[in-house]
């Protein structure tokens, strides 16, 4: 992780019944500089926002979003997914500086 990209907080159940729809929440620490805010010297702080979020299950995209400057700092996304099998979820964020963050979580079916 680099630059403005910070910690991520992900919440999903560790286990779900096969076929169940689960809610996944993902939040990442990021100032989401809009490019319109003067810094302490009065200069405009350059725009740096998280512009892309993706969630993949075993390499296959299950959710993706393009983000814009109107999002608050520390963007928080919540979405649902149907669980047909156990496996690994990957969460990816990318910001304007090109910095990437990735987190992985496993989910099991019961």
């Amino acid at each position: 992780m680099a630059g403005n990209m910070g910690r991520a907080l992900i919440s999903l159940p560790a286990k779900a019944k096969r076929g169940a729809v689960i809610e996944i929440r993902a939040m990442i620490a990021h100032p989401m500089e809009t490019g319109y805010r003067p810094d302490s010297q009065g200069r405009l702080a350059p725009r740096d926002i998280v512009n892309r979020f993706e969630c993949l299950f075993e390499g296959e995209q299950v959710f993706a979003a393009d983000l814009f400057p109107a999002m608050s700092a520390n963007p928080y996304l919540s979405f649902t997914m149907r669980v047909d099998a156990g496996g690994e979820l990957a969460f990816r964020w990318r910001d304007d500086s090109g910095a990437m963050a990735e987190e992985k979580r496993r989910i099991e079916v019961e």
Binding site: R7, L9, M27, I28, P31, S72, A73, N74
Partner: protein
């Protein structure tokens, strides 16, 4: 601007009742009780509360070796969930080595300089807020328990005097808003009772974390007073007084505020 106008309206409205009344113990309400349902839900849900990101940073700083001593907080204190349980609830506390009351972040910095032999964290730095929030989290749900310590008495008395003293071009005391007019509107904001039990907080207006002193400074600039600098004795005194005033209320750290 609308806030300033609202202040002036409030001056007129409260000019008739100048003698200030303390908030009765059973009438105390946390700042969270004055928030919208959505903001309260954000505070109550650890997966939606942005301040939890800061506590995660605090958790990793806890085990990071630093300074000439090359020791981490955890090297001396052990895991925070045990060693720091209930600690934040009884701060500010009297520190024997400094012969003065310290707030929690002052104690963190005392360990930073005296124990780790490292440079103190800057006021409002992400690290200082993160460690304070992480330590505060270990007291969440526990009652605010200011120490029954005679050495804190002068500070508490001084804090109470500051609380009641009119300041700034608008000539308002903290008490006039927070004891006499809580629950009323000031512009778009509801005036809370000013309890310190959720700090450090994530404030939506700041789009980030901030300390109780940052909040104090906001209120002081709001009445056009010269705000004391971070770390000022006046702020410690105010916090000693406010933690006594909030005794028994549950710690909510890390809180969310509008």
């Amino acid at each position: 601007m609308s806030r300033v106008r609202a202040v002036i309206v409030l001056v007129c409205a409260s000019a008739a009742s100048l003698a200030h009344a303390e908030v009765a113990l059973d009438q105390r309400k946390s700042g969270a009780d004055f928030m919208s349902a959505a903001t309260r839900a954000m505070q109550d849900d650890d997966t939606a509360n942005p301040a939890m990101l800061s506590t995660l940073d605090g958790e990793s700083l806890w085990t990071e070796k630093a300074g000439d001593a090359q020791k981490s907080c955890g090297d001396c204190h052990g895991p925070a969930p045990q060693s720091m349980k209930g600690v934040a609830a009884r701060y500010p506390a009297y520190n024997v080595a400094r012969k003065a009351p310290l707030d929690l972040s002052g104690q963190v910095n005392a360990c930073r300089t005296d124990q780790q032999k490292a440079e103190a964290f800057k006021p409002e730095s992400a690290q200082l807020l993160a460690l304070s929030a992480y330590i505060g989290l270990q007291s969440r749900g526990m009652p605010v328990s200011p120490p029954d310590d005679a050495r804190l008495a002068p500070s508490r008395a001084q804090g109470e005097a500051l609380w009641s003293q009119r300041i700034g071009q608008l000539n308002f005391s903290c008490a006039q808003c927070h004891d006499d007019n809580w629950g009323k509107r000031l512009g778009s904001a509801l005036i809370p009772q000013a309890h310190p039990n959720a700090y450090p907080i994530y404030r939506l207006d700041w789009q980030g974390m901030g300390s109780l002193q940052r909040r104090f400074r906001n209120c002081m600039s709001g009445v056009r007073a010269q705000a004391y600098p971070y770390g000022a004795q006046e702020f410690i005194d105010l916090e000693v007084f406010l933690s006594h005033r909030a005794r028994g209320m549950p710690v909510e750290t890390p809180g969310v505020r509008p």
